[in-house]
Amino acid sequence: MKNHRTDKEFFEYVYDIYEQKIFYQALSILNNKEQAEDITQEVFEQLYSDFESIKKFNDLHLKKFIIKTTKNKSIDLYRKNNTRIKYLETYKTKKNNNEEDNNVNDYVDKMISEQEILDISKQLKEPYLHVFLYRVYYGLSNKEIAKIMDSKEATVRKQFERAKNIVKKVIGGIHYGKE
């Protein structure tokens, strides 16, 4: 992390790099610009209250922390908007142990190579990409995803299966045992 002389400089730097990105991440869940702006502000408030620990983060960890914070706040607000929905799947956010571990090594021994991720990104086209992210990363149910994407629950279910198959195809037998 660059050394910023003052706290203000640090936050100006973070605004500069992440403000737009946070807004768009929140927007992808909430589909509402005012709410996505509120979340952007809330994320900065959160960074400020965790300032003592995030000061020590390097750029990569700070980014991961911001993405996770944005995700959690967006999902919370989304759920508040939609109390009518009965969740079919339990939603839980797991605390990731690496979150505050400022060490380069947890990027070295990953299960999946950069190349595989690149291939997955190439092959996982919309709408499959977002269905996959909503299900696995944001932990939303098919019903919730259908609502966000304005489609049918059955369609989402099929799209998720398809997305999973694309991921499996790229990663192949090494990780999935013998076919």
Binding site: D7, K8, Q20, E37, Q41, L60, K64, I112, S121
Partner: protein, 465 residues
Amino acid sequence: MEKNEKHEQEILEEVANRIAEEEFDKEQEIHHFSSTYQSNKQNFLKKVSTKKSKTKFGLKRVLMIAIISIVLIPTTIYASKEIYQWIVTKNNYELNLSLYDNKKYNHDHFYKLKFDYIPIDMIEDGDSNKFSYKGNLDSGGISFVLWQLSGKDDFKELYTKDYKELTINHHPSIVIKKNMMNSGDIQFDTIVYLFFEKEGYVLQAYISNDVKESEWKKMLEKVSLGETNEKDATHYGILSKDLFKGKQPEKNYYLPKNSSNIHKIGDAVNTKVYDTQEVLFTVKSATVMDNIKLLDKNNFNSNSYEQLKDKQLIANDGELLPFNQKIIKKGDGIQTLDEVVGERKVKTKFVYLTVTIENKSKKTIKDLYFQNRLYLLEDSKKGLSVAKEEVDFTPYSGEVDYLDRHGEGKSFYKMPDIKPGEKRAIKLGYFVDSTQPSKMFLPVLYYDDIEKLDAKGLEWIDIGQ
């Protein structure tokens, strides 16, 4: 959850995490924030700049700081002098290098190795910090490993003939000359450790005997660690206590001579490829040849063929030529070095096999690779085991040296599909020397690592001549 399902879930989550990061970084059109948001932001920045960041000191922490200061003050006085210490001890041929330093590195910076001088005609293999000469690619040259120091670090080298300590471009260094004999002409017989005191790293260089001393010295004088970001940093190792624990003694595995897994030339051996499709595998014939002129040159694996050509063991008319072979007794690297215990004249030979594979299953066999090397097994009281004799050079390459209807490039060993019921004849072969034909055994289409010679499902054909 089933173990597999759980593993699958972990993989999906990792993929999702990383794709989410990519999505986050995607360029979007600029969003113009509302005035309400802008005024909140200004208030927030004002709050940030006026408020002192609070740090609470408990009594315990104040005490700790006091104690640490007392401990640290004496060492900081010496900080301008030597703060590290090499301790080099040589016990016969085992050299231990311990590096103590009183400086606690926080390692909060990332570095990339920078080479300001690379010998002419030398190129780096990708971004691997391995350099070799254009005429001798992927062989010899010089390669670098970076170690991050953790306070007290021990390095160990065996087969050390002698060493000297010197300073290379202000870096305390140690140059170690080793004495070992591998088969082949390329020996990595010089190891150099360079200590980067300011950054808290040690750079280890493995130098082969095809690099002149003046060249590698110049290269090491011009190597530096440049500060960079985490993504571009040179990969480094962290010394762990077990790293130099010494090698476990090699295990000997035996195959009983009367094992039902040993078959003869002509036997149809029933086996399964990839655990699913049944085939009958037969070695029809094995011939030891002194001349290869009748064989199609395109079917030779270029590595082995070129090497023998370079060593002038294949004459222009295809004749395989004799050469002098040194017999080596391996040392343990501590009490004893490798030594030459004899020399003999041996002949280069080629073993030519005709094999049939019959597909007994109802499905086409696709992606079948013929990649099993020839094994040299010796008889002893306990049974057959892998021959241990060390020599300075043998044509035996440990690869399939000849294969007809082979694939191209990296898929050299790939064979055409075999239809259900089809019986396919394949010609293949191996280079050996004249001391080896009596010891030859061929594994039958076996794709796991071969360590235990009597592993379940591992069938052998005795093709000894």
